[in-house]
Symmetry: D2
Subunit: 102 residues, 4 copies
């Protein structure tokens, strides 16, 4: 089942500058081979449910396996029959916004 | 790795009264054998990462496998060395709140 | 507009035991006069949008005003025409789950 | 207090193609004058807390005021002393990822 997620995985207790730990998380996601895109708050990943959730686990455990308390915030959109939602949703949305402002 | 999650799994496109579909979701979670608790916005589940994520998948697919667009919102707290966080966190919190008001 | 939220407000950078800071957050919410309920992952609050969001702000600023980086995760359910959703949603859900298992 | 949020505001009960309603939501955000950026799952907004939360309210009410049940999922990062986090966080992160792979 094709699954699009936005996920934020962050350490808790390593200080208030998180970029060193989050870099390790995003590095795991980028090396997964799944389509992904990082913004300032979330990383989007798209693929089959099991593939996506394996990457979310691997990226979480890169921190937790070192004994770090780790928070995961995830929002998934599972839409049967649809693929390439990461770009497709934006395309459909931008067309609708353009139409609103014609 | 012990994992506490709060998860909301909901159908999209079946009308604005969601309780019939959400009942099926929560029924899957309750029959999983994992500790769980449902509030008005989320269901908490606690167990090993793989066990918890299997239940989240099963509960999502009870809707998606019928062709329903399904949204998953999940927040996880993975804290190495801690168990029974569903009750433990509340106990520690209530003691601290009581102390604030002494 | 009646609004039900589940919100988690947490410090970032004060160590991995968060209960002292979260106690201050929940204390602000409890003293707000709005209906609220705390589980291990979120605190639910219900009231008019402006009232609820004022409490969310006050509870966030009890940490941020001390210079603490603060994370807010919030999910809101705004359903025109409905009141007392914190209990009403659970009541409707439990009836549907009971029916599934008749 | 400078505040960076990622927010998803969506109708519930208008069918499973949400783009027409979400277009109205994002249009309100874009016309707010605040810095913003839309991905396939969330729209990021940055500004003072009160400004950002006013836009979140206006964008929610563009749906709810028409009687539509509306869901808001929001994650905020409030970091005292920091500005332009929408770009700054990504810049710091990309440098750390590049360093990991030197």
């Amino acid at each position: 089942m094709n699954t699009l997620v936005a996920v934020a995985i962050a350490p808790c207790g390593t200080g208030d500058e998180l970029s060193s730990e989050v870099a390790k998380v995003v590095d795991v996601i980028r090396k997964s081979g799944l389509k992904n895109r990082t913004s300032s708050m979330f990383t989007e990943i798209e693929g089959e449910w099991d593939e996506v959730m394996k990457v979310v686990k691997d990226a979480t455990m890169i921190l937790a396996d070192k004994g770090i308390r780790t928070e995961v915030v995830l929002k998934a959109d599972v839409r049967p029959g649809y693929k390439d939602m990461m770009d497709g949703k934006i395309d459909r949305l931008e067309k609708k916004i353009a139409k609103l402002n014609e």
